[in-house]
């Protein structure tokens, strides 16, 4: 991390707590770069996270107010703080299990109410901290500790979900698309209303090694192959889209 970014890290923080090859450290850097580029004042920012690996992105690392709350409840806690003090710029950073599984109802209702939050879902498509169980974003057929015969269930399309519920802005990118992600985070921070970004983040420890992706490099390559932009997807047949993850912005709240 460049030296001038150190101001965004809590004094004493020298490294991330994440496994080698984890995408969350990359995401951490991208969020801070977006904040840096927007020249936001960290004293006016509040970062709220739930439970899981992704919840450790802001807590304790970011040099701002951080609220590390119960599993699944980051959005309600963020809602309370934001409504009582609207001057706070509130960002929720948590994982797919936290935001979409146990906290899914809160995600829907915060989008419906159009609460002015920036919600970043670091999705590694698995419960990592508890040892690699299937989440609601695990793809069909994937092997996890609780789907040893392959996951039989459809994953949730979180962007479509929040848009249907009323989100002002939704985007999906992988950590392999850093520039697009920084732009999306900046946009989400800028837009007044409920903004949601799903960030695909590789988990070599709990996901990759059970799915024939033996090294972090394999996982990154796999993400790059799977991710296809919205424009390309529009020109592709449904056969070509099989197993692909469509990335891009899904609603434009720039108005």
């Amino acid at each position: 991390m460049p030296r001038d970014m150190r101001q965004y890290l809590r004094p004493g923080i020298t490294s991330t707590p994440f496994c080698p090859g984890c995408g969350h450290g990359i995401l951490m850097g991208l969020i801070l770069r977006a904040i840096h580029q927007l020249e936001l004042n960290m004293d006016e920012m509040l970062f709220v996270s739930g439970i899981g690996c992704a919840a450790w992105i802001p807590s304790p690392h970011f040099n701002a107010d951080t609220l590390h709350i119960l599993h699944g409840r980051a959005i309600p806690a963020a809602t309370g703080a934001k409504l009582f003090n609207p001057k706070l710029r509130v960002m929720v950073i948590s994982g797919d299990g936290d935001l979409a599984d146990i906290g899914g109802n809160h995600l829907i209702h915060a989008a419906r109410r159009n609460i002015d939050l920036t919600v970043i879902c670091a999705s590694n498509m698995v419960y990592s901290m508890t040892g690699g169980q299937a989440s609601s974003t695990t793809s069909v057929g994937a092997f996890t500790q609780t789907t040893t015969q392959g996951n039989p269930y459809q994953p949730l399309d979180l962007c479509r979900l929040v848009i249907a519920a009323g989100a002002k802005y939704a985007a999906r990118y992988s950590v392999t698309q850093p520039l697009a992600l920084i732009t999306a985070i900046k946009k989400a921070l800028h837009i007044n209303g409920f903004c949601f970004i799903e960030v695909l983040s590789p988990c070599p420890t709990q996901f990759g090694r059970h799915n024939q992706l033996n090294t972090p490099v394999d996982m990154i390559k796999n993400l790059m192959e799977k991710c296809i932009t919205k424009n390309r997807a529009n020109k592709s047949s449904s056969e070509e889209l099989k197993g692909k993850i469509i990335t891009g912005e899904f609603t434009n709240g720039a108005s």
Partner: protein, 369 residues
């Protein structure tokens, strides 16, 4: 002094506003819903933040978020909703977040009888969340006291940085009676000293000051085991032990200041009724009826249920040889009392969704007079 004619639920709202509460999040549930309805209107008049959340879990978590953003924050619910809030109450205890939770108790377990009365959540209020922690629970017996105890609940929450539960009952919530509002009521606000040591020191019964989000304090709040600065220390036995001990001792060591009783005819009483909440109204009626017959009977009314008033032995007088505990549950408080006294403790329990009438108490008491 201004006189009002209100229900208990309405009085709770007025008490909260008087205490400085300006944030409410809730979810509809009988028999507490009037609190949410009235506060939504009152906040629109006086400028508070009201939100109806998608469930009770969201309600309590948003109250916690608002509290750290500087609000005196309230939520209200009943039995099943109170169960859903328990994890949040544990979080508030662990992070020393001042919040007030109203539980207007109804007949349980589970959905039970939504419109009928009970006092079945006394133990849930203390033991509902995981691990060893303390809460404060206060218990009003009138509309007047619903108002006063709500203010007291906010003061205690602020003083000790702890979740405070106003443990009331359907019968108080829906009771309408006169309520007087006096002018000079003490309102306590927590210390907001700028400090880096937000979660206590080695001094175990000291409540640390609490900063507010958005003021440049870089506050670090977590429900995981944390040191005095808020850093997670999830594998340090010393930090774990110090934190849990302090969370308990800051309440237990101050219990003399927290616990409140009312005494009735205890000087020469041989039989003492120990009563709380709505039931204490019937108990006092019974005591006065039997006193008129010359019986040496008195009543100790518990205004605080948690921390448990373990010093009650000092108050029941030297002559007491029978303690009679009528309850709208299966003897939850009587069981606690037995831990602290050596004389006979007689229970009368009623879980039929109705209040205990005075004549039932009189009839039961005659066996011991």
């Amino acid at each position: 002094m201004v006189q009002h004619y209100l229900s208990g639920n309405e009085a709770i709202v007025e008490g909260a506003i008087r205490a400085g509460c300006r944030y409410y999040a809730g979810y509809p549930i009988t028999p507490s819903t009037e609190i949410m309805e009235r506060i939504s209107v009152r906040f629109s008049e006086i400028g508070g933040v009201f939100i109806q959340m998608e469930d009770e879990i969201a309600a309590i978590c948003s109250v916690i978020g608002a509290s750290w953003a500087g609000a005196k924050a309230l939520t209200a619910t009943s039995g099943p909703g109170f169960s859903l809030m328990q994890e949040g109450i544990g979080y508030a205890a662990m992070t020393e977040t001042p919040i007030v939770v109203v539980d207007v108790q109804r007949a349980g377990p589970s959905t039970g009888q939504a419109t009928r009365v009970a006092s079945g959540d006394v133990m849930q209020a203390k033991w509902g969340s995981s691990g060893d922690y303390q809460v404060i629970a206060v218990c009003p017996w009138s509309v007047q006291e619903a108002y006063e105890q709500t203010i007291n609940a906010f003061n205690l929450a602020e003083k000790y940085r702890v979740p405070v539960i106003l443990l009331t009952e359907e019968a108080i919530g829906h009771l309408r009676e006169r309520m007087d509002v006096v002018n000079d009521i003490e309102i306590f606000n927590h210390k907001k000293k700028r400090s880096t040591d937000l979660f206590g020191t080695e001094e175990r019964d000291v409540c640390p000051p609490m900063p507010t989000f958005g003021e440049g304090e870089k506050v670090l709040v977590t429900g995981s085991t944390h040191d005095g600065y808020g850093f997670r220390r999830t594998d340090d036995p010393i930090v774990q032990d110090q934190l849990v001990s302090r969370l308990n001792e800051k309440i237990i060591n101050n219990s003399e200041k927290i616990i409140d009783y009312d005494n009735y005819y205890l000087e020469d009483a041989k039989v003492v009724i120990i009563s709380y909440g709505f039931t204490a109204r019937s108990s006092l009626f019974a005591v006065e009826a039997l006193r008129a017959e010359g019986e040496k009977i008195g009543m100790l009314r518990l205004k605080t249920l948690w921390p448990f008033p373990d010093s009650l032995k000092k108050h029941i007088g030297a002559n007491a040889n029978v303690l009679f505990v009528p309850e709208m549950n299966k003897g939850q408080v009587a069981g606690e009392i037995r831990k602290y006294v050596s004389c006979q403790v007689v229970t009368f329990t009623q879980t039929n969704g109705e209040v205990i009438y005075p004549d039932i108490i009189i009839e039961q008491l005659r066996r011991y007079l």
